[in-house]
Symmetry: D2
Subunit: 398 residues, 4 copies
Amino acid sequence: MKKIWGDYSVSPQIHKYTVGKDYLVDAKLIGHDITATIAHVHMLYAIEVLTKEESNELKNHLQLLQKQVENESFAINPKIEDGHSYIELFVTEKNPELGKKMHFLRSRNDQSLVMLRLFMKEQLHIVMEQKNSLIKTINNKQNKHKNLQLPGYTHHQKAMPMMFVDWIGQFKEGLKEISPIQHELGKMIDSNPLGSGAGYGFAHQSIQPDIALTSYLLNFKSMQQNPVYAASTRGFYELYVLQQLHPIMMFASHWANDVLLFSMQETGFFSLPKTFTTGSSIMPQKNNLDVCEIMRANEAVYWSKIEQIHGLISKRTTGYQRDLQLTKQPFIEAIELVKDTLTTWELLVKNLKVDSKKIKGAMTDDLFVTHQVNDKVLSGMSFRDAYIEVKQGLEGQK
Amino acid sequence: MKKIWGDYSVSPQIHKYTVGKDYLVDAKLIGHDITATIAHVHMLYAIEVLTKEESNELKNHLQLLQKQVENESFAINPKIEDGHSYIELFVTEKNPELGKKMHFLRSRNDQSLVMLRLFMKEQLHIVMEQKNSLIKTINNKQNKHKNLQLPGYTHHQKAMPMMFVDWIGQFKEGLKEISPIQHELGKMIDSNPLGSGAGYGFAHQSIQPDIALTSYLLNFKSMQQNPVYAASTRGFYELYVLQQLHPIMMFASHWANDVLLFSMQETGFFSLPKTFTTGSSIMPQKNNLDVCEIMRANEAVYWSKIEQIHGLISKRTTGYQRDLQLTKQPFIEAIELVKDTLTTWELLVKNLKVDSKKIKGAMTDDLFVTHQVNDKVLSGMSFRDAYIEVKQGLEGQK
Amino acid sequence: MKKIWGDYSVSPQIHKYTVGKDYLVDAKLIGHDITATIAHVHMLYAIEVLTKEESNELKNHLQLLQKQVENESFAINPKIEDGHSYIELFVTEKNPELGKKMHFLRSRNDQSLVMLRLFMKEQLHIVMEQKNSLIKTINNKQNKHKNLQLPGYTHHQKAMPMMFVDWIGQFKEGLKEISPIQHELGKMIDSNPLGSGAGYGFAHQSIQPDIALTSYLLNFKSMQQNPVYAASTRGFYELYVLQQLHPIMMFASHWANDVLLFSMQETGFFSLPKTFTTGSSIMPQKNNLDVCEIMRANEAVYWSKIEQIHGLISKRTTGYQRDLQLTKQPFIEAIELVKDTLTTWELLVKNLKVDSKKIKGAMTDDLFVTHQVNDKVLSGMSFRDAYIEVKQGLEGQK
Amino acid sequence: MKKIWGDYSVSPQIHKYTVGKDYLVDAKLIGHDITATIAHVHMLYAIEVLTKEESNELKNHLQLLQKQVENESFAINPKIEDGHSYIELFVTEKNPELGKKMHFLRSRNDQSLVMLRLFMKEQLHIVMEQKNSLIKTINNKQNKHKNLQLPGYTHHQKAMPMMFVDWIGQFKEGLKEISPIQHELGKMIDSNPLGSGAGYGFAHQSIQPDIALTSYLLNFKSMQQNPVYAASTRGFYELYVLQQLHPIMMFASHWANDVLLFSMQETGFFSLPKTFTTGSSIMPQKNNLDVCEIMRANEAVYWSKIEQIHGLISKRTTGYQRDLQLTKQPFIEAIELVKDTLTTWELLVKNLKVDSKKIKGAMTDDLFVTHQVNDKVLSGMSFRDAYIEVKQGLEGQK
């Protein structure tokens, strides 16, 4: 099959190897591609490249496709390569002459950039909402167990009493603390890359796209005037966004790992409802917290997506290279992981059961040894002397 | 929906989060699962747990499913969780009472292990065959350009003449040199994990599976007698196999990167057929070697699969944990990448065009400066004096 | 040798293995440890645990040690384990009874945290200053070559003209764009972890440290009230700070890689002064840009520090564990890399030589093909028709 | 300061940035560099470039330096750049005219390669010896506790009985199983890279080094005839060797993590001697297994060295580039980690104390539930029916 950009057939093996799963990936992004294409078409009319009628007809075709996308009644054939070709072919089938006019003053490069930018904005917003909801849920949980003390451990050994509100509160603190940074990140990526074309813009051409207009239509706060920079944000923004959201996955993993430890038969401080657990195919007594293990594991999966994107963009030189295509899939998968993890985590926090009796039984004397030291200091002994006296007392007991 | 192992319904969100894409992943492994299940059923008959008739009927059902798998006329519904459940449900639907007898003396854990082990053996064999074919193709290419000299570079600057046979030969050497290690790897993983059950075997039970028999039926060279070790190879073998094959991806990436550099307009030593190149959506003059960029990039993707599996198994404790489920997908994807890359690489080597004229023009004097130094040494000068004399001569010319 | 915390001798091999290089690492942090210790001592006086005289004497000893640190006239013996022990032993040697009183109401855990926090604040400030200086230098370079056009590449093939100001400007944009995020990061980490003790605080004890006072004395903007969260920032902040600064290393690597490509004999657009290059031990003609290769490579080294810290803190459970000790070294090394790279990069930008003649020679016709397409569109042809007409024209020429 | 290869002074900042810590790193490799240099000098005599007297004098100087290295009575000044320069300068100071003759027919590139190759061979041998010793120690431990049963866990929940011999045996199996691969690795790297010069050999020169002779003198089993391949093993062999040894670190980490879990107050199955533990600076009751945490953590550190080397060599093009210099440090550090870990691990295995009483108390009924199911099957019930009947019985008890 011929490409939109070519008059020859590409070798099937080369086509298969270079396209990979891109046609599947683009199915998740094509809605944003259409949105940006509608803005582009409107802009072409505004700068008098298209007539009002042409522009309206193109928009109608694009909106029709948008509907199909919303209803999931479409599929990108791997022969069609990707979403950009799919859109252009769809319009061209409706009106061959008009379809040929649409790709003027943009390149597949800035088309990808803007599509991804819109996706990032949307997803970042969703993640922030989910995060705020989780923070509230943790808050409610804290209010329910205000004075509960658990054993606090260091080096896997009992250390001192730990307040339940502090234990679960640590995740709230972490999630809240990174919000201003994530907010700034939102502002940073809210910038229109259209007009960068193939990475070198149109300033040296006899006609330029009206970027201010597409920025307005697509609701971008700013625009990227330097086309070379716009092009080099490909992959970089994906990496940076995932790094900024990584603490969420890390906190979830830490939380899940704590719950696993505190739900063993040997501790038993926490449990989850039976419908949240899974059984064994051969051991009837089991109620396993697989969900916590998957949550812990998903941090590792997420991190490998960061590493994948990093590996793809490292040692780059200026100018688009096909390696960058492969950054889309890990980015989308990682964003899905964050969202699924936040949903699940909130559900788990809500349903976490605390076994006060077991906890009380675990509040053994060794957790209060430092209290003795401190009390001796208040009675006038130096700290080190008090420490040694208490220590010798403990060893005498053995 | 109820699980095979449970009498309660798992919360849909927990089900979705823990199953993830496992049902899709298992579709690629289920053939091996069925093969091992047939051997398991035969063994249950041999130890007199099943009658001959029961065993034969079960095998018939399993072979029917095997056919459907071969024809790709099946799909694992996400509600069914994974391939193991799919097989048991399939058989149980055919004969409910008989289906209930099949899972005796094994667990889903050793079932996964054996399915993956068979997959590994098969795939490793395919990869070795492909590698040998590529080695022959490189050999042929060397024979075609026996005396061709190219510029050799160090630090991205011209250094000395490089023989074409040495350039392309380096990849052959690398691929050959790792063969004995990969051969030993093949022997190491050719070991039957069945009988390890849930990770603690059946030695403490009143009946044991006959592992020698399943090893024979499944053509394994040895068996893993320590069930705890068998269980802890999960994830570890996946990691180790991918590490052993990594040089293939690394050499391919290095080769592709060289070709990209040597096909720039500024060098022009090499080119590929037009049908192997891709064009630009806005620049009519372009014939890009995207295929080489994807080949370079796929090494990064492959490496991230290694990192993912490593991340999942690191800091493990003894005993199966659900984190390990997530090692299947990156393993399969990585193996697919190696095979696709070898196929593509061989095609590229075969079709690489060498532009002798451009190369001759690039064999400039600076590549032969060390010859002058060496000749002076042969005439009796010390090496450092010769080096300095030649250097000063060069600077005089500027 | 006995530990400050023990009455028994630790096995030498265990001591060696657990201490590792920690005594060397702490030599770079001890200054901040002393600063925080002085504030701690003052606080102990304010809450009437120490007398004014005791507090003053301790401060004198600590300031004496601070001087020795500034003059680098000290060394931490590996037997002493780390900087915390070194300080306590130093003071205890001066006045044994007084030394024993100093470690009250803090633990080595919050002591490490505050020392690292002060280091982070200081270093982040330095890096931001260096970054701003580099931005100015790039700006000056842009002003020198306002209208210079270079070949712009995509897929390693000539694409369109690229403005020099856009090429070098992309690095300026990137460095500037991340500033608000780094500024927020500065605010986030400007928080006092003292009072978290061993990770569970002192709220359940009969006496508490005055954290508001130490925050004031150490110039922290806020304090971490939840001791469990304070403890879990160990390692997390190190990771997060390095991730936030990673774009600097990535841009430097990208810049260096471009310069390497554009300084090959085949391109020759750029060069660096001879005193910035290195020669070969056997090839007299060589002037290699090793510095750019090291700059490119240092991004990989930096990234591995991120991965190291991530690996150390992943799958943690609540409560200090010794794994965290090992996060100090990669953090310090990574910060050193950023600073050295910024210094070197600025020097290179300042001294980058542009060869306008070579560049002009490289501005070949193929860079202007898209101009023809666009001009045809302006004359009324549809974009795709124009594209195909130009393409066919090019192929006719061959 | 002038370089051996130059007649100009390199800018101090550029020198500092490019040399980095190379002068420190080379101090650990210089012994092998001298060994190879002695062989090189002998070969120069054999091919009549040096006289017998010259060769003997050079060898004497080199042996003198070798002694200083063995006594650690030397230090490479950072101004001298690296070990290669140090050796040449040392000899040149002894006899200026003779020193100038030594570097003929080799380059710093093959000099580095052979030095690293000798180091690899030596270290691989040491690691294999240590590994075999550890295997014996595990064996002894197994013999001491032949029939001991512990609780076996899956999903952090009690599952079935686990034999102690199987638990500790899993590490023995893993260590043994990878031996044939490591043995093949030893053969693969036992190959002489000398003669590859700057990466393009000397075949095109008027004189060639006698590689068969240096191979014999340095006890190499084979030689690398393709100079381009020899050069491209730089970094690749380092990566491959570390990957092959990685299972050792992974098993150690897994072992340590198990011991941490099984030494908590809540389990108490294992303990280590008090002199292997560390205390707390404020909690007198603590005896922490920091050594196990460091062992677990060192796997993460080791892995980051693999990632660092991978990052440095990825996306390479043919021909030496300075990035490769930075692979030496992580390689040496990783090898040190393996050796220290094996020493420590063996000490810990020897001294691991088993608390049979606590273990007996932990062998609760739930570990034997699967036995009931299996017994019902033996009495004629189908497996699934037996499973469900036992499960319902358990739930009735609650």
